[in-house]
């Protein structure tokens, strides 16, 4: 039974992808190490910032994804049109996608195997913290302006145990002689700190008591600078720490989404186009969704290196557009392949 499964398209494609992609991935990781040592010369006195090292993790992850996608598209003759052996495989292989779906799954499995060590061990080497913390963006209130004479801003926390509260509001022009705004921060009515803010996006951390908190309240306590607490201006860091290994695993799973979309669109193109066209579409989409930041992969890598829990920074709802786009492309590819004559 295991022998039969071993010869199915999924396993065949997975093995082919692993065989083809491990060396480029390793070489890319080595190149990333070299480039990081050559280019990222730290300025003495500046604090360490692992969150800024995303390019060096993106490089091997992207190479692994691209190599797996390329090998899968080249390996399974039905991914693109006008391939040698396609007719024979089409007669032997059942199912609406004629094994193309299994080939995509095999490529994704191979990519996961290759990227897991990168997202766990290599990320740790790049400086990702040993434990991850959950960082939650608090939704801004309907009227997010805090200034003299304005009521306090209240944020619901739903009983979270906090470690820190981060404030990063937008500052407006002063309403009188310039005096930085003073903001009192309260958790369930208890004052936990005061922040002095004068500039837009000025980052202030306030330590919070490690007990369940229902509401966070910001009160204007002085100054002439009005502050706007829009989306992303207030974030809460939970007290509990999570496993960095699980964080890396989640990031590796999130990194499958761009490949899924890219391979699904390659299948769609490949219904009528030849392999080079399908590969070009796949590579373009991979690049835009990873390095280009259009999708959850870039945010996942950034969160991983910052030591933020990827599951909170990139929740499942953020996966849905990629899953929907990939699934839609697969369905259309399936419909195109069902036409007589294929």
């Amino acid at each position: 039974m295991i022998g039969r499964a071993w010869r199915r398209p999924l396993a065949l494609c997975c093995r082919a992808c692993l065989a083809a992609a491990w060396l480029p991935t390793l070489a890319a990781a080595g190149l990333a190490v070299l480039l990081q040592a050559m280019l990222a010369v730290p300025l003495p006195g500046l604090a360490d910032a692992p969150g800024a090292r995303t390019p060096w993790l993106h490089l091997p992850l992207l190479v692994a994804a691209a190599a797996c996608a390329a090998r899968a598209a080249a390996f399974w003759p039905l991914v693109a049109a006008r391939r040698q052996g396609a007719d024979l495989v089409a007669r032997l292989q059942r199912g609406p996608l004629r094994g193309c779906g299994a080939a995509v799954a095999g490529a994704l499995l191979a990519q996961f195997v290759l990227t897991l060590p990168l997202a766990t061990v290599f990320a740790r080497w790049l400086g990702a913290p040993a434990r991850a913390v959950v960082v939650v963006e608090l939704p801004s209130p309907p009227r997010p302006l805090l200034a003299a004479g304005q009521p306090p801003l209240t944020f619901a926390l739903g009983g979270r145990r906090l470690r820190e509260v981060h404030l990063r509001p937008l500052a407006g022009p002063p309403t009188g002689a310039f005096e930085p705004a003073t903001v009192e921060v309260r958790c369930d009515g208890e004052r936990i700190g005061t922040a002095t803010l004068a500039e837009s996006r000025q980052h202030v951390r306030i330590a919070a008591p490690p007990r369940p908190v229902q509401t966070l309240e910001l009160t204007h306590a002085g100054g002439t600078v009005p502050l706007l607490f829009g989306p992303g201006s207030v974030t809460a860091v939970e007290a509990a720490e999570r496993s960095a290994a699980w964080n890396g695993t989640t990031a590796a799973v999130v990194w499958l989404l761009p490949s899924f979309v890219a391979l699904a669109v390659a299948l769609l193109c490949g219904a009528h186009a030849a392999l080079p066209t399908a590969l070009t579409a796949a590579f373009g989409l991979l690049f835009v969704q990873t390095v280009g930041g259009a999708g959850p992969a870039d945010a996942a890598v950034r969160a991983l290196l910052r030591g933020h829990w990827v599951g909170a920074t990139v929740p499942f709802s953020a996966w849905l557009p990629s899953l929907a786009a990939g699934s839609l492309a697969m369905i259309v590819a399936m419909l195109l392949r069902r036409r007589p004559g294929r």
Binding site: L39, L43, G45, A52, A195, R306
Partner: protein
């Protein structure tokens, strides 16, 4: 058909000659590589910088800024903007030694700009002029930094150091006059540090240089004020300091003229 070895030998000889005549420069290769990488990477580096400013901490923001400037090392305005932001960033709310924290950031920012001098090209003098401004602006932002710099002559001593370097590179009248008009602050800093002899030397130099100031009326008035201060510091208590005390440009010296 036999291949004649002569063309191959000639080609190898030409290569060797070219290598000896113009040895390959690593910097040229780096610049060539950067020229290819730059257009592909810049949009993403910019968006990463914005993201770091929006959701990251200061360390990440400045690390991203360094990555951006690695791609554009000759962009002196960029170096200046980010180094100033670093030096003038507000001290953390829980900082126990705001003066020490500000001093640390000023040193890092000046080291950053010092490193940028190598690639500034014709704009090196402009970079030095902005470096001259930075210590004074930083002291205005964080007064505790002034205490920290007092022993070494205050921010004016640092400013004078960079103005002198700028003057050496570009001896324009504007740079020379900037140094001349810095003299009261520099002398005050030296007096606060207990270096009276150096303070007198600074005033003497400023008096001498005041003859080069293009606005003759201003030069005469400035020289007169400097001479009054010089005489008073030299022990002549008969000198009338009313004009000096009324002149805001000499405010830094007022505490030493009582």
């Amino acid at each position: 058909m036999t291949r004649h070895p002569l063309p191959m030998v000639a080609a190898a000889g030409c290569m060797a000659l070219a290598w000896v005549a113009a040895p390959p420069q690593p910097a040229v290769g780096q610049e060539l590589a950067a020229a290819f990488v730059r257009p592909a990477m810049l949009p993403f580096v910019w968006s990463s910088l914005e993201e770091a400013g929006r959701t990251g901490d200061d360390a990440e923001y400045f690390a991203r800024a360094r990555q951006l400037l690695e791609l554009m090392p000759a962009w002196t305005d960029g170096h200046t903007v980010f180094a100033f932001r670093l030096a003038l960033a507000p001290a953390p709310a829980d900082a126990t030694d705001p003066g020490g924290d500000a001093w640390q950031r000023l040193q890092v920012a000046l080291a950053w700009l010092e490193g940028a001098r190598a690639t500034a090209g014709t704009r090196e003098a402009d970079l030095l002029l902005t470096m001259a401004f930075l210590p004074e602006v930083a002291v205005l932002q964080q007064p505790a930094l002034g205490e920290r710099l007092r022993a070494s002559g205050g921010p004016a001593a640092l400013a004078d150091h960079y103005l002198a370097a700028a003057e050496q590179l570009r001896g324009s009248p504007a740079v020379r006059e900037a140094r001349t008009f810095l003299a009261p602050k520099l002398a005050a800093g030296l007096l606060a540090a207990g270096d009276r002899r150096q303070a007198m030397a600074v005033l003497d130099t400023a008096i001498e240089r005041s003859f080069d100031v293009r606005d003759r009326a201003l030069a005469g008035e400035w020289r007169q004020r400097l001479l009054e201060v010089r005489r008073w510091l030299d022990g002549d208590r008969a000198v009338d300091l009313a004009a000096v005390q009324a002149d805001e440009r000499f405010a830094a010296l007022w505490a030493h003229l009582r």
